[in-house]
Point group: C2
Chain length 314, copies 2
């Protein structure tokens, strides 16, 4: 399993997937401080928020403002989540570099979460593509295929349903697609099988894996996807987030543990892991009373640790 990849990208989703799942609402100022620090320590792709109605997710009410600030940071590729056409219009207005529309391969989850069937989500996606094209913006359009490994509502999600939805999103004009284990049901073998099939559908348009650490397998799942050449993963600082259907369960793969794993494997993420641990401490301090996750922060880096970039040239 020698790494053949030399570079990997961690897309930070703590400000979106993380913060939307917890009670504490952190101020716009602090979100901007988080972004500033993250960029300074080498993070280059960040999902800054979600354009959902503030009544549903007050934590995300300032997404437009945060997006505007993020766009002032040099070298940052700024993503926003959009649940529908209205959200997409706001992301386009704000000049997001990428907008991601979550779709759900589980019909039950799709109806519960988006109040649309998977086919209706694809139709909405096509409308978003048309509006994006008409806007003249270069905003990249990603279709995120969620509940790809199973669903807490309906249980099994068939690979055929996942791949059909992915094909639908591509046909509707997705520039990129990704696979998400929304509820932490994936295992490394399932990841290998589904990503292998998805690569046949999407080729290099399949560019990101999103793994929840609900049952402790997020990094093992990343490893399985890495082996197929997937080089971009969502992760959340301090592993914040969670799953509304599993109280107390952890959220995404923690950014710091994932960055440490990739760098240790000689995969350059551009991230200064020591500085990332300092940012983690700061954000954890803002989130007192909330559960945070991950392991590296407790033990610190090994004496032998060298970042992939230093190791390559040292």
């Amino acid at each position: 399993m020698s790494a053949t990849l030399r570079h990997g990208v961690i897309r930070e989703v703590g400000l979106r997937d993380g913060l939307q799942s917890i009670q504490t609402i952190i101020s716009t100022e602090r979100k901007c401080e988080w972004l500033r620090d993250a960029v300074a320590l080498g993070q280059r792709e960040i999902e800054v928020g979600s354009f959902v109605p503030p009544k549903l997710l007050p934590q995300m009410a300032d997404t437009a403002e945060v997006l505007t600030y993020a766009k002032t940071l040099p070298g940052l590729f700024v993503s926003a989540l959009v649940p529908n056409l209205k959200g997409a219009e706001r992301a386009l207005e704000g000049g997001a570099d990428l907008m991601i529309l979550p779709a759900s391969a589980s019909r039950a989850h799709s109806l519960a979460n988006l109040r649309k069937t998977p086919d209706e989500v694809v139709a909405e996606f096509a409308r978003i593509r048309a509006v994006r094209d008409a806007s003249g913006r270069k905003t990249v359009l990603e279709g995120g295929v969620g509940t790809a490994f199973g669903c807490t509502l309906q249980g099994e999600v068939k690979a055929d349903d996942v791949l059909r939805l992915m094909q639908g999103l591509l046909d509707a004009g997705a520039d990129r697609v990704s696979l998400a284990d929304t509820v932490g049901y994936a295992d490394p073998d399932a990841v290998s099988r589904l990503f292998d099939q998805a690569l046949k559908v999407a080729g290099d348009k399949l560019w990101c894996g999103h793994f929840h650490d609900t049952r402790g397998l997020a990094l093992a799942n990343v490893l399985a996807a890495l082996k197929l050449g997937i080089a971009r993963f969502d992760a959340s600082l301090a592993g914040i987030g969670g799953c509304p259907h599993a109280p107390g369960a952890s959220g995404n793969a923690s950014t710091e543990d994932l960055a440490y794993m990739l760098e240790s494997m000689g995969i350059d993420t551009g991230i200064d892991v020591e500085a990332l641990l300092r940012l983690r401490a700061k954000v954890a301090d803002w989130l007192q009373g909330e559960s945070t996750y991950g392991s590296l922060w407790r033990a610190g880096l090994p004496k032998t640790f060298r970042s992939a970039r230093v190791a390559a040239h040292g």
Copy 2:
């Protein structure tokens, strides 16, 4: 990364590596209850304790008694850790099925932990082998090569030192050898490289990997070793244990998360994971005030979970 293995063994080390690293001393009666429950739910290999002086590790003072009880449990392959010849004599007397002598590839760690150089440990191993052979016992003799991926004292541990120590243990009569990431420095790429080299030295005498989850990579490291055909892993219920050099850091891979991963991948461990979670809850209750780890216990099994045995026949 489709699993080719159909069967895997988790060797429970919670009663040894776990309990020796924490303050709480649980009674002999509770240790026996733990063993009884573990066997009832399908665990077939357990390291029951360590034959060290009670002054050093009072948690292990009842190892002989626990070993005697363990030997009454049908179908259980009972291991004990022995730091030296004296310990080995006690393990032989107790009728252990296997005794493991820990060696350390790091000279600094070997001197600090065992007060012997690696070469002196090999010499002690040869004496143990002679005594084992003279005893007429069938006790299997395992050499555990520790600090194989680095050391908190000396930092880097060279692969050459690891492989030389492994060869020394084999030459001194080891029936089996194993590799241990004692301090949680390993990453999946390092695991692939070192296990690949070690297999060339030891062949199928290399039968076990021991990964600490100090920095969150234990299960990813297991996955890397699995890919090379390693099918036996140490793990600790509730991830108890730790590292004296990293306060608050977690211990071994947690048995329940590892069993869940393997079973999900279609690798039959013989373990009833739901019953294992009940045992985890019981033991965690005995250990109130101590840190416990792992993720599965918080979220529970996925709706879609089927054990490998059921999946194969269902």
